[in-house]
Each structure stands twice: as structure tokens, then as C-alpha cells.
């Protein structure tokens, strides 16, 4: 057991404690960035002028109409930027653009005494202050593929000899899989509040997952060094990756306004602004060819993944890399050639979203399995189980898969605890006796790599103070967005110092406390910052132990004695993940410290009249190592699962793809049109268990990251829906299910099943003859055979 992972007796980590802010949350006393506005005098409110074109040159921009609106104070345009006019780190995201690159892009910002004044000012500019020369636009990923509209680096993961393997395969299938992105819909929209303080320093309160980068971008926009800007994040009302890159521009607008006017400036997006201006999960297109041997083992996978990057690169490149590194999910595929590329489309710049490409990569392989299993004559769960990694095998990018036995353990545990065999029999009985409703049960695994793919990001810092009275204040570089990171860090500090939890207080994340931090992302917040907090605490503890010299003094006495002995009672901690290596050019190495594993079994019931469905029961066994904080970890698993199910079944992100005047506009830009899971989508029975005996040697106190991996457990719901739709037709038919699997999509899948001719068993074809996986659901003429005529 490593020193990092070793846990003392009576440790504060592992205790069942509520979220550190729970009492503040439930009483409304917890403050978020925009709750602070009332604490400042003379705040100015910012409102954007949003372009009504997907792609256009701005031929004229005249702020005068807004200046005639009462209460308008100032208009911010490119001419006001003293530094670099860019809201990103790659130089391709102008803050005030000359060329509109997506519908809804902000072309300038109006500052007003009230939000109403700023809004009217923006309306005035939109009405008569700005002219556009529309340019041709690319909206869908298919349009981009046809037009050759790409950006960034192509990537290729490759192992073995795919052509030969496909040639020798017993069965080869080809197909396409296309699926939509996802709006983050954190309940708190983007918010920033900037003031210039009494020392001339720019202080920005921002709802950001990446305060250091927000600081850097505010500084380069203002043309000042980083040390002239401080960014603080109290907490976020949800982030999910959507506040990793996206907050920077809004913080820069607030900071620019504050420096130009000398007054505090508030930027807070309305929901519609947030949806139309900020990036989302990438939708993907995949074309694939897959080979199986006679027993249903994968022999080869060849695929091209095209991600819909939107108008600029943002985080599209690392998202693509992670997608390519997760196409295998939990399955050993000996021969692999998977290419990835990023489409440039005139849409919001797609970005990080919980899973960061992992879900997109895995969706491809899960879709392949779901579609091929009936044609292989195998139960989908059998096909999945047969292809699990075993000890000693490596991923296509060359990393050894450590602990594949945990996957088997989780799988077997679920089979027993969720009584899968019994329930499958019950479902068969139900389906035989119900013509208009069908049930199905699907089990899917997750293997997810933990660490930033880009090795340098795997570092973190912390600052720990022990005051003379024995109270402890900790700061670290991670941000709190609901994931319970601060709760875990308090537990880590209490454990490392050996003090009770109530002696430790955590102060909000600020760039003047811990510099040069990485984003709180990649699920790595607790691993990295936990390592740093632990390091700082252990330095202090070592000094105190020297003072104590075996006397066993009480904490307060020991601290007092150490102070008098002039011993340093504070420390800066640092952590970097050891043992990583990654060659980005060849896509080869061991980018991940470890893998997190999980298995989910989902049972659904589908209504044959409408395609509506409900999730009757979900069982999950998930590997979080030795849990740092069980309430937090279970909460992350449940929340991620429901969010993943939302992406796959409900959340229907639509853009105007027509040639009319609204081309490129997000048509689902409100909560009334973009539906998140509500209480009615929660599985009716929802059992989550943490995998026991799951110590992780390479992480703080034996724990594992938990934020992202469970999202992908939701594939079980999508696959169950596919199987339930298939149950309306004869056996052995491959069912293509659109994503998201809305009731309408499920209805068309049912119609596809109903109209299918019973398959004659396919003898294994020799040779490579590629066969189409199945027709796309959308291509199928809806037939309306009355449900009671369909006999099963």
C-alpha cells in the first residue's frame, strides 16, 4: 500500500457526512456569484447584442442608438480592448468578433444602470446600429463532412492489422451512428461580477471551474500581467464542464467594463443567452466497420469519428482524444484503427461536458453491440460479457488495463443482487402476455480512464493554515460546483492533521491563494487537490510531531507550544500524479493513473401506442476505490446516471438546419423546449452500491475519482429501450434507435420492429462481405399496424 493511499485508523475520510454547505444550501444562505450584486453600490449591468446570423461579416457597428437610451452608460466594442481581443487560449475566439461565427454570438455589450436599460440599449443597436453581410454557413456535421469543413488536429488510434482481421472475421458489420450533443443546463447560468479594488487590482467573482485560466484571459484582454487580476469562485450552481472554458469571456467583459467605468460590472446570462452563446457537449458522427469471430469476440474495429466542434476549437481537441481513448469501453478489441477529426460548424463552440468525449466514444461501441447482437444470435449482455478485458491485456493506445477483475466482480454482484435471471424470465412472461407494452432489461459496463490526457495538467496546489487557537483554514485550487470536492478536502485535511472535522474551515477558491491551478475537471479534483492538501497538512503535522516528541499533547496545546517555539504553522502543498506518459502525436502511452469501473442494469417499460416509457428499476455497482465520502460519492453516481439518461433519452438539442432566415439558431433555447429529466424520469427503484474491497493504490487515501464515470452507466437505459422496442417485433432483428431516444424515436424503433420480417438465422458468413447494420429509423416509412395484430 502506498503512502499516498494509506488511511489511518479513525480517519475522517470515509465518514458519512453531509455536503459541507448543506445547511447553507437548504436555508438559501449559500451565496453564488450573482447573489453578491446587492453588496456593491452603483453596479452596472451588461447585456449583449446577439447576431441574428449563423455566419456573417459585420459591415457596420455603431453604438450611438444605444447611447440615446436612458440609463445606458457605455458600450463595449473591440476598440475598447487594451490587450488581446480573445476569450480563449488558442487565439481563435475573438471576444468582440469582426466576423459572426454562430447565431447568437455577442458582437458587443451594453452597460446600463439597470438590466432593463442595458437590454433596451442592446435592442436599439440590434435595430439600427449594426449591419451584417451574411456568408454561407455549415450547420450540421454531415454538411461539414460534405464540405470538408474541419479544424484542429486529426488523430488516429491504431493497433494490429484491421484489414486482415476484418477479412478473416466470421461476421462483419458496417454502419453509421450519429448522435446529438447536450446542453449543460447547470441551474445557475454564467455569472461574473468585477470590481477594481482600492489598490487598483481587478477582482472578478466568477462562476468558473477554472479560475486560473479565467484570470489569465481577463489579464490578457486588459493587457495587464496575471498578478494584477484576482479571480474568486465562491461556488457554482452546477458546472458539468460548461464552466471550464466558457466563463472567461464573460469575466473579461465584466472586468473590461469595470476598468473603463470605475464601477462594478455584473454579467449574468439569461437562460436563453446561456444556451445560445455557450458551448455544449459535442455531437458526433461515426462510420464503422466491425468484425467478430465465430464465438462473438471482437476481432477488429475500424471507425472514423467526426465531432461537431462548433465555430472554434475550444476544448474540442482533448475531447476528441478522450473519445478515441474510450471507443473500446470495457472490451478487448485486438485490431483497431479509429480516426478522429473535428468539424467546424457555425454553432456555439462545443466544449467540456462531464465525460469529456468518453461518453461519445463509448456510445459508438455500445451502439455497435446493441445493433449487432441480434444478428450474431447472442443476447446483448452475453456479447458484452464475452468481450471484457482480462488481466494483462492492454488498450488500443497501449495502456495495461489494471484490475479488470473488478468489472467482473461488479457484473456478477449485480446479476445476483438485482436478480437478473429471475427478472428476465418475468419480463419474457410479461411481454408474451402484453401486446401493447413491452419491457426489457439491459446491463452495460463502464471503464473510464482517470487523469487529464495532457500530462502537465495533472498537478495541484493547496495552502493550509493552522492558527494559534488550533483552528485550521484550508485553500486549494479546486472549485466547488456541487460535486462535494470541498467536503472531501475538509475530510482529507482533518485526516492528515488528525483533528476533528469541525476544526477545519475551507475558504473559497481564489487565484491569489493558490496559483497556476488546473481546471476542476476530468473527475480529478479530489485526486489532485486531495494530494496537495494532504501534502501541506503532512508538512505541518511533521513539524508538530517534532514539537510533541512523543508527549501526546492535545491538539490545541501542541499548536500553542509550536507557535511559541517559532515553528511554521502553515504550509503550501503540491501534488503531481506520478507514472503518466502520453505521446499525443502517436496516441500511445499510459495517460491514465487508473480506470474507474461500474456496471448498471436498467429495466424499462415501453408503451406501444406512443413510444413513451418509464424506467422501472436501475441497479448500479460502481467502483470509487475506498470512498472518501460515501454520501458525496453515491450522490455523484445517481446524479451522473440521471444526467446521462437525460442526454440519451430526453434532452433534444435542436438547431434550425433549414435555409430560412433563422438558419443556425438554437430552437430549443429555453427550459420549456429543452427538457431536462425531472422527478418523473428518476428510476422508480434506484439501488446504488459502492464496489467493496476496491482500494486504489495510486490515489489519495485509496479513493477513486467519481464525477464523470457513472454518467456512462446510463447506456443501460438506452440499450434497454432498444431491446424493448425490438420486443414488439420478431426476434433476431437489429434495431436502430435514434439518439436521444425520445418517445418519438422509440416509437419509430417500435414501428421498425413491427414491420420487420422474422429473420432466418444467418449462418456465419465467411469473408469480409460487409453488411449494412440496419436501415436508419428515420428512413423507415411509418406503418400503423394496429398493435393487437402483432403477435409475439
Amino acid at each position: 500500500m502506498s503512502a499516498l493511499s494509506q488511511r489511518p485508523d479513525d480517519a475522517a475520510v470515509g465518514l458519512t457526512v453531509p455536503h459541507e454547505s448543506a445547511a447553507l444550501h437548504v436555508t438559501g444562505a449559500a451565496l453564488y456569484t450573482d447573489d453578491l450584486v446587492g453588496r456593491f453600490r452603483d453596479v452596472l449591468h451588461a447585456h449583449p447584442v446577439q447576431a441574428p446570423h449563423a455566419h456573417a461579416r459585420i459591415s457596420r457597428l455603431d453604438p450611438t442608438p444605444a447611447l440615446h437610451v436612458p440609463g445606458v452608460v457605455r458600450i463595449l466594442t473591440a476598440a475598447d480592448v487594451p490587450g488581446l481581443n480573445d476569450s480563449g487560449v488558442l487565439g481563435d475566439q475573438p471576444l468582440f468578433p469582426a466576423e459572426v461565427m454562430h447565431h447568437g454570438q455577442a458582437v458587443c455589450w451594453v452597460l446600463g444602470e439597470t438590466l432593463e436599460a442595458a437590454r433596451r440599449g442592446a435592442e436599439a443597436i440590434a435595430a439600427s446600429g449594426v449591419d451584417y453581410d451574411p456568408l454561407p454557413s455549415v450547420i450540421t456535421v454531415r454538411e461539414a463532412m460534405a464540405a470538408g469543413s474541419f479544424q484542429g488536429a486529426d488523430r488516429h488510434v491504431q493497433r494490429g492489422d484491421v484489414e486482415t482481421a476484418l477479412h478473416d472475421a466470421a461476421q462483419v458489420f458496417t454502419g453509421e451512428t450519429e448522435f446529438a450533443g447536450q446542453e449543460h443546463f447547470y441551474l445557475e447560468t454564467h455569472a461574473s461580477l468585477a470590481v477594481v479594488d482600492e489598490s487598483g487590482q481587478v477582482f472578478v467573482q466568477s462562476s468558473t471551474q477554472h479560475p486560473s485560466e479565467t484570470q489569465g484571459i481577463v489579464a490578457h484582454v486588459l493587457g495587464v500581467p496575471d498578478h494584477a487580476v484576482t479571480v474568486q469562485c465562491l461556488r457554482m450552481g452546477g458546472g458539468f464542464g460548461g464552466k471550464e472554458m466558457q466563463p472567461h469571456g464573460f469575466a473579461a467583459v465584466a472586468a473590461l467594463g469595470a476598468t473603463l467605468t470605475g464601477r462594478p460590472v455584473r454579467v449574468r446570462l439569461t437562460r436563453a443567452q446561456d444556451v445560445t452563446m455557450t458551448g455544449k457537449r459535442h455531437g458526433f458522427h461515426a462510420a464503422w466497420r466491425v468484425g467478430f469471430d465465430a464465438e462473438g469476440h471482437f476481432t477488429a474495429l475500424e471507425a472514423t469519428l467526426t465531432s461537431d466542434g462548433g465555430w472554434s476549437l475550444d476544448l474540442s481537441e482533448p475531447v476528441l482524444v478522450r473519445a478515441l481513448c474510450h471507443v473500446d469501453n470495457a472490451y478487448f478489441i485486438p485490431n483497431v484503427s479509429v480516426r478522429g477529426r473535428i468539424a467546424l460548424t457555425h454553432k456555439t463552440s462545443q466544449t467540456a461536458f462531464r465525460g469529456f468525449g468518453g461518453p461519445q466514444g463509448m456510445l459508438v461501441i455500445e451502439d455497435i453491440i446493441g445493433r449487432c447482437a441480434p444478428q450474431l444470435g447472442l443476447e446483448p449482455h452475453e456479447l458484452r460479457r464475452r468481450n471484457f478485458y482480462t488481466a494483462g491485456q492492454t488498450t488500443p493506445y497501449g495502456q495495461e488495463v489494471r484490475h479488470p477483475d473488478r468489472l467482473v466482480r461488479a457484473w456478477d454482484t449485480i446479476a445476483e443482487s438485482a436478480e437478473l435471471d429471475t427478472r428476465r424470465a418475468e419480463i419474457a412472461t410479461f411481454n408474451a402476455s402484453h401486446a401493447t407494452a413491452k419491457r426489457a432489461l439491459a446491463v452495460t459496463p463502464v471503464k473510464f480512464g482517470i487523469s487529464f490526457n495532457f500530462t502537465p495538467l495533472n498537478q495541484a496546489g493547496a495552502l493550509v493554515h493552522v492558527y494559534k487557537d488550533g483552528s485550521v483554514l484550508i485553500n486549494h485550487g479546486g472549485t466547488e460546483m456541487g460535486q462535494g470536492l470541498h467536503t472531501k478536502m475538509i475530510q482529507v485535511a482533518a485526516t492528515a492533521l488528525g483533528v476533528p472535522l469541525h476544526r477545519v474551515r475551507l475558504a473559497p477558491t481564489r487565484t491569489d491563494k493558490v496559483p497556476n491551478t488546473s481546471a476542476t475537471a476530468a473527475s480529478s479534483g479530489a485526486d489532485l487537490n486531495g494530494g496537495a492538501v494532504k501534502d501541506a497538512c503532512e508538512q505541518i503535522r511533521a513539524r508538530l510531531d517534532a514539537v510533541d516528541d512523543g508527549a501526546g499533547l492535545a491538539w490545541e496545546d501542541l499548536v500553542a507550544k509550536a507557535y511559541l517555539a517559532r515553528v511554521q504553522l502553515w504550509a503550501a502543498g503540491f501534488y503531481r500524479t506520478e507514472g503518466l506518459g502520453w505521446d499525443a502525436a502517436t496516441m500511445h502511452g499510459h495517460p491514465f493513473k487508473y480506470f474507474a469501473y461500474g456496471v448498471a442494469a436498467a429495466e424499462v417499460e415501453v408503451d406501444g401506442f406512443t413510444g413513451a416509457y418509464r424506467t422501472r428499476r436501475v441497479d448500479i455497482v460502481h467502483d470509487v476505490g475506498d470512498s472518501l465520502s460515501p454520501v458525496v460519492d453515491v450522490g455523484q453516481i445517481e446524479g451522473a446516471f440521471v444526467q446521462g439518461a437525460g442526454w440519451l433519452t430526453l434532452e433534444d438539442l435542436r438547431w434550425d438546419e433549414g435555409d430560412g432566415p433563422d438558419r443556425g439558431r438554437v430552437t430549443t433555447q429555453a427550459a420549456s423546449t429543452y427538457k431536462l429529466p425531472s422527478l418523473s424520469e428518476m428510476p422508480e427503484v434506484f439501488n446504488v452500491t459502492l464496489l467493496p474491497d476496491a482500494h486504489e493504490d495510486g490515489a489519495v487515501y485509496g479513493s477513486k475519482a467519481v464525477g464523470e464515470p457513472p454518467l456512462m452507466l446510463a447506456f443501460s437505459v438506452r440499450e434497454a429501450l432498444r431491446q424493448a422496442a425490438a420486443a414488439f417485433g420478431p426476434p433476431g432483428v437489429s434495431i436502430d434507435l435514434a439518439s436521444p431516444a425520445t418517445p418519438e424515436a422509440v416509437y419509430w424503433a417500435i414501428e421498425l420492429a413491427r414491420s420487420a420480417v422474422p429473420a432466418t438465422p444467418v449462418p456465419y458468413a465467411a469473408g469480409p462481405a460487409p453488411r449494412d447494420g440496419s436501415p436508419a429509423a428515420g428512413d423507415v416509412e411509418p406503418v400503423s399496424a394496429p398493435p393487437w395484430q402483432v403477435q409475439t
Binding site: 448543506a22 436555508t27 444562505a29 441551474l187 437562460r271 408503451d607 427550459a671
Partner: protein, 506 residues
């Protein structure tokens, strides 16, 4: 916390208003002076430093802004089936805490009213039972949705006559973090308020009187009418004024589409619009009753309405939204219209010149247009009795709680000896207005209620209206759903003797 007793001394409110319009928030009077008619209660409360209520959408969808207001309890509106005899039960308290979306409530309409926000329920050192259950059960992650959940849960906790937590109470609150399991468990673990609970005690007194009031601010004036004639006179005197009942439609227009009016006339307290009579040959529903009030008072006496309610928006919205408001918007995707068309309803329109009665089927004249004239209000909705024996409301949506219809089909079939003697089908989402499916009705009437008839009629129904493609559904799916609706109804009700069985239980 202490609540200021305004209702106890009827003169007090008007007297206080003469000095300065104010609302009671968490027990203290807060001035509404200078609050314009377009300012929402949410923005107003947050400007007071009461930042627990959050904005997540500004359109009534997320519930992060939920607050509690004291509302009167209608006779028979107590959450229990209204057809139970009341003799053996203690009378319900005269008022109740009702959760509403603060983003849709005009702040000025709170004049003279009592409000409790999440801050007023408890503090970190003294948690309210609802807050304690949520905090200990892991019910908050980022915490942004939490104050709204707390208010929705508290309203249900205090609901008169509650016999256990009804999860419908949370249908208007979204959480992006937790996946809801801990919130549900916290709700189900709640007990009942103790005898000394201050907020429960408050409900033993009547709700504050909603007297005639005006609040002036930048952008115009909010008037609250106390009686019908006052509302009609204001309307006649101020052309261009906007009538606001529950404000659930109007609030969205203001927040999302920048709609502004100089004069708002609040009619939510007008007693003539708030009556409900179940007669021998008619059920008469006041246009100003909230859907929650109708739901509570009617129980399942009108099965089609009972089916409609849980599918209509969320508890938070139904606590404000009125039947009159839903019909007045003349939206092609309003859900009340198809149901009331199937029920053969007529509506009573009132103006200073008197009243007229219009069959609902003749009310809608075009996309969001109706026969409603300037100066006219919808007073009530008349539903003729007896009701048809076979009835179903099929609302097609993506999400089960709180979603707008892509298509809605309401059907009422009267059978006599197995023959369809009368068929009424109301459709939403297939034409610029809600419509009757006349051809399908004709294909059913005079024929036996059997598979052959139903299949033939279903084919006709598929062709009714002209559904469109949009982000909610394709035209093909809408058409298909028209086609399956009668099949589904027949599968559920092969005869009129059989009680409805719903395969997809909620």
C-alpha cells in the same frame, strides 16, 4: 417566525396601503413603493437581499424561484376527494401556504399579501424540518435548486388534509445534480407539523384580504380589482391594459419576450370569477379559479378534467394558472381546450354591457385569436351533464411531468347498448386553433364501439388537422399519435362499464 396579522383586522390593509403599499415577507412589512408592473416578485425579493430564491429560467419551468404565499382554502378544496362527506371530518383551515413561481408573479400583486421565502423557514442554526431532511439526506449538491425545492416541499408539508407526501408537489422543480433520489427520500421521510408550528398555526386564520389596491412604479401601474365590476370598469377605462389572473402566461411574455404594459389589472381575487357549482345539469367552473383549486374541489367528478390536471404543467404552475387564462390565450397547444371541447363546454363572457354565452367550439377564431372583445372577460366555463361514459385525455410529450403537448387528444364517447350515440373529440397541436375532430366523430356515431369501428375511425382521425414539424415532434409522429389514440382508448375502455385502466402508471 412571526407573521403579521393583517386579515384579523380587515381595515388594516387598506389603511396601511394608503401610507405605502407593502407586503409581509418572512413576518416583516416590506415596502412595494415604486415597484413597476413588470418587476417580478423574484427580482424584487432578490433586490431586498433575499437571494435564496434563484433564477434558473425565468419562465416557470425550473422552480428555483419558488416562494410561499398564504392563499385562502376554498370550501372543498383541501386535497381530499370532494365527493366524500365532510360530516365526520374537522373543517379544513381557512388558509394554506401555497408555493408559486416568483419569476412569474408581478411583485406588485403581492401588495397586502404574506410571503415566506426559504430564508424565512429556517436558518443554518435552526433548520426547518424540511430543510433538515434535505440537508441530512444529501438532497443538495450544488444547492442552487435547493431553496425552491424547500419551498415546494414546505407547501406540501403544510397542505391541509395531507395523508402523506404527494410527489406531484415537486413536479415543477428541476435539479441538474442529484438525480432526485435523495430529494424524493427526504420528502417521503417528512412527518407532519407539530402542534406549536408557527406556519401551520398561521393557517388557522383567514388569508389576507385581497382588497382593491394600486401600486405605481416606473413603467406603469398595477391595479388589483376586488370585485368583477371594478375589473370591468378598469378595463373599459384603460384601453391597452392587460388583465392578469395567474400571470403564468403573462410573466413569460415579460421575462422572455420583453412584453411591457403600462397598466396591469389583477383579477386573481375577484370573487365572481372564483366560484364552483356542481348542479344537476351543469358543472360551472369560475374562470379565475386556479387549476389546483379546481383539481382539489372537483376530485374525479369530471374524469376528463381529473385526467388533465396531473398532465398540465406542474403543481407550482397549477397553483397560479387559471382556466380562464388558459382559454384566453387561445393557444393551439393549450391543454384545457381539447378537454373542454370534448366535454361540449360553453363559456360565459362578461363585460360592462352584460354577459353572453359562447360554445367553446366557436370561441377560437385563429392562431391565438378568439371572439373575446375588448373590455370582456371570461367569467366561467359551463360543462353540461351527464358526462360521457368513456373518456380519455392523451397528451403526447417528451417528458411526463411538466411538458407542453406536441399533440393532445381528448375524447368523450357516450354509449348506449354498445352503440356510440355521441362522440366528441377535441384536438390540440394539429391546427392553428384547438379543433374538434368532426369527421372522426361522424365515423364513430351510430356505430358499435368495437374494433372495426375504432380502426376505421382511427384512420379518419389520422387525417384530421394538418400537424407540423417542429422541435417537439415531427408531423409524421403527430399524425401517428392521432392514429393510435382511439385504439388506446378502446383498449382501455372496451365497454363503458369498465373503469379506466392506465397501462403506464405515473
Amino acid at each position: 417566525m412571526a407573521a403579521v396579522d393583517e386579515a384579523g383586522s380587515p381595515g388594516a390593509t387598506t389603511h396601511a396601503a394608503a401610507r405605502s403599499p407593502a407586503a409581509t415577507v418572512n413576518g416583516a412589512a416590506v415596502s412595494l413603493r415604486g415597484v413597476g408592473p413588470q418587476t417580478s416578485a423574484l427580482d424584487w425579493l432578490r433586490a431586498q437581499g433575499l437571494t435564496a430564491a434563484k433564477e434558473g429560467c425565468a419562465e416557470g419551468e425550473c422552480g428555483a424561484c419558488a416562494i410561499l404565499v398564504v392563499r385562502p382554502v376554498l370550501d372543498g378544496v383541501d386535497g381530499r376527494p370532494a365527493d366524500q362527506t365532510r360530516a365526520d371530518r374537522t373543517a379544513p383551515p381557512p388558509s394554506q401556504w401555497t408555493a408559486v413561481n416568483a419569476c412569474l408573479v408581478p411583485a406588485a400583486s403581492l401588495v397586502g399579501q404574506e410571503v415566506v421565502t426559504c430564508e424565512g423557514l429556517g436558518s443554518p442554526d435552526a433548520l426547518h424540518p424540511v430543510q433538515r431532511e434535505l440537508a441530512l439526506g444529501g438532497g443538495s449538491q450544488c444547492g442552487y435548486c435547493t431553496p425552491g425545492f424547500v419551498c415546494s416541499m414546505a407547501a406540501e408539508y403544510y397542505r391541509p388534509g395531507s395523508d402523506g407526501f404527494d410527489l406531484e408537489a415537486l413536479s415543477g422543480n428541476l435539479c441538474r445534480c442529484t438525480g432526485y433520489r435523495p430529494i424524493r427520500d427526504a420528502a417521503l421521510a417528512l412527518g407532519s407539523p407539530g402542534a406549536d408550528d408557527v406556519l401551520a398555526g398561521r393557517c388557522q386564520r383567514p388569508a389576507p384580504r385581497r382588497s382593491s389596491q394600486r401600486v405605481d412604479g416606473p413603467g406603469g401601474t398595477y391595479h388589483r380589482a376586488a370585485v368583477l365590476v371594478e375589473a370591468l370598469e378598469l378595463l373599459a377605462a384603460k384601453p391597452g391594459a392587460m388583465v392578469v389572473a395567474g400571470g403564468t402566461d403573462w410573466g413569460v411574455e415579460v421575462n422572455l419576450r420583453g412584453a411591457r404594459r403600462e397598466v396591469l389589472i389583477g383579477i386573481d381575487a375577484v370573487p365572481e370569477l372564483r366560484t364552483l357549482d356542481v348542479g344537476v345539469d351543469t358543472v360551472k367552473v369560475g374562470a379565475g379559479l386556479t387549476l389546483s383549486e379546481i383539481e382539489g374541489a372537483l376530485g374525479d367528478r369530471v374524469p376528463l378534467l381529473a385526467q388533465l390536471m396531473p398532465q398540465f404543467a406542474s403543481r407550482l404552475i397549477r397553483n397560479s394558472a387559471t382556466l380562464g387564462g388558459n382559454l384566453a390565450t387561445a393557444s393551439p397547444i393549450g391543454d384545457a381546450a381539447p378537454v373542454l371541447l370534448a366535454l361540449d363546454a360553453t363559456i360565459v363572457l362578461a363585460s360592462l354591457h352584460g354577459e353572453r354565452v359562447v360554445p367553446l367550439a366557436e370561441f377560437f377564431t385563429g392562431y391565438r385569436e378568439s371572439v373575446l372583445r375588448a373590455g370582456e372577460l371570461i367569467r366561467s366555463v359551463l360543462i353540461p351533464l351527464p358526462l360521457a361514459g368513456v373518456a380519455g385525455f392523451h397528451k403526447i410529450t417528451k417528458r411526463r411531468f411538466d411538458d407542453i403537448s406536441s399533440v393532445a387528444i381528448a375524447t368523450a364517447i357516450t354509449l348506449s347498448d354498445g352503440m356510440v350515440t355521441r362522440a366528441r373529440i377535441g384536438l390540440g397541436g394539429v391546427a392553428p386553433t384547438p379543433v374538434r375532430a368532426l369527421a372522426t366523430e361522424a365515423a364513430l356515431e351510430g356505430r358499435p364501439w368495437d374494433r372495426d369501428t375504432v380502426e376505421a375511425a382511427a384512420a379518419v382521425l389520422r387525417g384530421e388537422g394538418s400537424p407540423l414539424d417542429d422541435h417537439r415532434a415531427t408531423a409524421a409522429y403527430r399524425t401517428a399519435m392521432l392514429g393510435t389514440s382511439l385504439l388506446r382508448l378502446h383498449a382501455d375502455h372496451p365497454t363503458d362499464r369498465q373503469r379506466p385502466t392506465v397501462e403506464m402508471s405515473p
